[in-house]
Symmetry: C2
Subunit: 236 residues, 2 copies
DNA sequence: ATTATTAGTGTAAAAAATACAATTAATTTT
DNA sequence: AAAATTAATTGTATTTTTTACACTAATAAT
């Protein structure tokens, strides 16, 4: 027994993978391996398979691309204009992933020709992928203003100046460092380590790490991390 | 030219339609007209058609159900477990709509047997529709804490006590009325009318209306309407 | 030893949020 | 007509949060 007389569609998942290298935000792109638009830069995506949910499809695709599992991954929005793919109608559901660039290993499988691009130097992307990235970035700004999700971008140990650079980069602004660190420390998510990062200054900056227990308790809690007027454009 | 060897799927849109009658929140449900689960209560949904986007499909479905156009409607989340529909795999994308109950006309087409149910007296719903509603409600709580979207639920003219009841109902709490009205008036979204609603009290409460110009400028702006500790669960 | 560079820190003022209760307007009852 | 009832309306003082602002500390390079 089936639903008869209804059209069936190709459904794809496209992953918008953001990274942060301590200085700037980057986006992970691949060179598309098949026509149309072969060799053009593209988000990592793939067709949904018969026995997997969309979440599972997104995890599978991300694992293929990065070799990583258990990374931050969240459904964002569907893209479904009938002619968005010139070959055939494809309904795309996008997912946003946040990963620590340093954890990323160019995988077993280098078939994808994946590359990190600084957000300010993105190449032309296929189809509506540019729009997907823009919306994803806006939503990330919105979300990160209330929930401490940007920690997903950081390595185990990071410094307060790195943390601040990360937030300043997302909102394209400068924060006063006394007020910023006071705010972030007041979340109780940070544990001060004993050693310092000496790479970026003579004095060296103490490392901090995420208090994972606190984080798990708090990540779903709403906090005002960033002044609301910094959030400008699209949002959920 | 087509993408060969890929499985195609039925894609449906399901609409979670919230209303508020001045006292309590309600959900618009229909009795499903075909098997399986014929006659059971269900969200209003339908299959995506070949030449429409998902947004267009949602608008079409909502128009069929309510007779209304140009109502608040936003994509929420996909639901895609392979066996969520016992007949055949269907990937559902949900939309949330907010409508003024008083504008709703039981349509030309009464075929759907649509009915408003108080949120606290929902019947058993088919498939995963109950989960959809729960998630939608959580996301509405989140969103309404920052953007003045609940006005979509109100008629042209409403009173401050009604407004407060609406917010208190969503967050299942009580607000101090001096503080609450001060907060809402400070948004500059409200215009005081000359007449009063005499239905719910002897003294009568002045009507207010939405300043539509201000609203259009402000609706995408983030404001802290509700204390953050009132927001508990799911969010975008 | 001096210089250069970035990390780290405290306080006062302003703004926002909260706690709190008496008065007013109109209808209903006596 | 007076009294009682009911819900709407209104202000202030206190606490909390946010903002503005500048000097000292540590180390490497010269």
């Amino acid at each position: 027994m089936k639903y008869s007389n209804q059209t069936r569609f190709l459904v794809a998942v496209d992953c918008i993978v953001f990274g942060f290298d301590g200085t700037e935000y980057k986006l992970l792109l691949i060179q598309r391996g098949f026509a149309p638009e072969k060799e053009k830069w593209s988000l990592m995506g793939g067709f949904v398979q018969p026995e997997e949910s969309l979440d599972e499809a997104a995890s599978r695709i991300l694992k293929q691309l990065t070799g990583l599992q258990d990374i931050y991954l969240e459904e964002m929005k569907s893209f479904s204009k009938p002619n968005r793919d010139p070959i055939e109608r494809v309904i795309a559901v996008t997912y946003v992933a946040l990963i620590d660039i340093k954890k990323y290993q160019q995988q077993i499988n280098d078939d994808f020709h994946a590359r990190w691009f600084p957000m300010k130097e993105l190449p032309k992307l296929i189809f509506d992928h540019q729009e997907m990235v823009e919306i994803a970035l806006d939503k990330l700004r919105y979300k990160a203003a209330f929930q401490p999700i940007l920690f997903e971008l950081l390595p185990e140990k990071f410094t307060l100046p790195q943390l601040q650079t990360m937030y300043e980069g997302l909102y394209n602004t400068k924060f006063d460092k006394r007020n910023f660190t006071r705010k972030l420390l007041s979340t109780n998510l940070l544990k001060k380590e004993k050693d310092k990062d000496k790479l970026s200054s003579k004095k060296g900056a103490f490392y901090y790490s995420l208090d994972v227990k606190q984080y798990k308790e708090t990540v779903l809690t709403i906090q005002k991390i960033i002044p609301l007027h910094e959030i400008t454009a699209a949002r959920e």
